[in-house]
């Protein structure tokens, strides 16, 4: 799989859109043939759709599966004895979790790609880390929530993680004071899920009128905006809250789905989400036809990472808009976009939305 391996070895933002498109389409063809040849269910889907994977296609012409399909059916392109672990997504009550089958190679690729993407935004040295969550979230190794997986995945980027919350989801002042005394003057990394950061960090600090010294912190947050949208908090309001309670000026949202772990889309300083060379997005209208840049529609996510399961081309239930290509003020080439939230009628499911309050 020459094109596929070539792209996976590149720097995340090494290619302009025009340079990336033909390489990406070729790599996607290779990956699609791999899944056709190793997953009988997937081969039947291609067959029913009359899709000839041996011909070359544009990125938007590859068949997309609804992300939901992984809740209904376990799809895999590896033998059972090669299965390394099965990731399950947020299983809020009443919802079936997705089951994502990983072999060792895919799991390792996810980690490596995540490292390269995030490294492009925050650098390679690991900063003291403040996790806006409770230590108990990652304690249970046997039942691994999407939140725990996110915290652990991002822990690679920090040193000596300190948890800002108690297991009752209250601010842990002992931990916070110790962390701030040791690191408050220097650069630190903060990580948390969007809703948790707002509800359990920004809001209580605002109520108390406390202002922490986190002026040199960089915050990475993700997991969905659904609950904050209900409270009319948008990206700008979120950032204003963080500036107010801690002087936290560098805030990066990330977008991604458990079905395509690793190939996340990071928000730059200009507020745009960026497609790295390993992944792409297509926006579709209500009839599922691709729409031009600037128009709002359903987000289809394309990733070159899923090799052990046919989740490389998925239609999400999120709405987004492509802002442009190769024109971001931050200087990174490639496609940029913004996410508006869940499409109406979609089942509610963000990782951070599974925390139901106290």
């Amino acid at each position: 799989m020459a094109e596929l391996d070539d792209l996976l070895a590149r720097d995340p933002f090494a290619l302009s859109s025009a340079d990336k498109a033909p390489l990406f389409a070729a790599a996607l063809g290779q990956l699609t043939r791999h899944h056709r040849d190793h997953c009988a269910d997937y081969a039947r889907i291609l067959d029913v759709l009359g899709f000839d994977a041996d011909r070359s296609h544009a990125i938007e012409d590859f068949p997309f599966l609804p992300a939901r399909l992984f809740k209904l059916r376990r799809l895999q392109s590896v033998a059972d004895d090669q299965v390394h672990k099965v990731l399950t997504s947020s299983g809020t009550s009443g919802q079936a979790p997705s089951r994502i089958v990983l072999d060792a190679a895919t799991a390792s690729l996810q980690t490596k790609v995540l490292t390269r993407i995030v490294g492009d935004f925050i650098g390679r040295s690991r900063l003291p880390m403040l996790v806006v969550d409770a230590p108990g979230t990652v304690k249970n190794r046997n039942s691994f929530s999407a939140r725990a997986a996110g915290i652990l995945g991002f822990s690679m980027f920090g040193r000596n993680p300190t948890y800002a919350l108690t297991d009752d989801m209250e601010l842990d002042w002992d931990s916070l004071d110790r962390f701030l005394a040791a690191h408050g003057d220097g650069p630190v990394l903060m990580f948390g899920f969007t809703f948790m950061v707002w509800q359990c960090f920004v809001e209580p600090l605002r109520r108390m009128g406390r202002r922490l010294n986190l002026d040199q912190a960089v915050l990475i947050h993700g997991g969905g905006w659904k609950k904050l949208a209900d409270q009319a908090v948008d990206d700008a309001g979120f950032k204003a809250g963080l500036a107010q309670v801690g002087g936290i000026g560098r805030v990066h949202n990330y977008y991604g789905m458990v079905e395509q772990t690793g190939s996340i889309f990071m928000q730059c300083a200009a507020g745009r989400l960026h497609c790295p060379v390993f992944s792409d997005i297509v926006i579709r209208d209500a009839h599922l036809a691709p729409v031009p840049d600037g128009q709002r529609g359903l987000v289809q996510l394309v990733s070159l990472l899923p090799k052990s399961y046919p989740g490389h081309v998925l239609l999400s239930e999120d709405e987004g808009t492509i802002i442009g290509a190769d024109d971001c003020p931050c200087g990174r080439p490639g496609k940029t976009f913004t996410i508006h939230g869940r499409a109406a009628m979609a089942e509610i499911r963000g990782c951070s939305d599974t925390y139901g309050g106290k």
Partner: protein, 94 residues
Amino acid sequence: MPFEKLPLWKESPAMSESLQKYDNAFLETFSVDAAALAGDLAYNSIPEWDSIGHMNLMGALEDAFDIALETDDIVEFSSYSKGKEIVAKYGVVL
């Protein structure tokens, strides 16, 4: 040279202090015994060395040698022997 002084017959030197520290990081983080390391223990080969255990091990090694591993090296740290190459990059002589 008297026979018993030939290098082959020399008793193996005592384990270096830093190798002892390196091994201890594994032994204490994973609660395994030294025999497990001899077979080149690898990431995910035992339940204790999962992603949580991995970050605990990295923290233990950073504390033991007073080094700060880069993210790439944490990702590449796939086994007991591979880890020796990695810590060597930080000036740790085992």
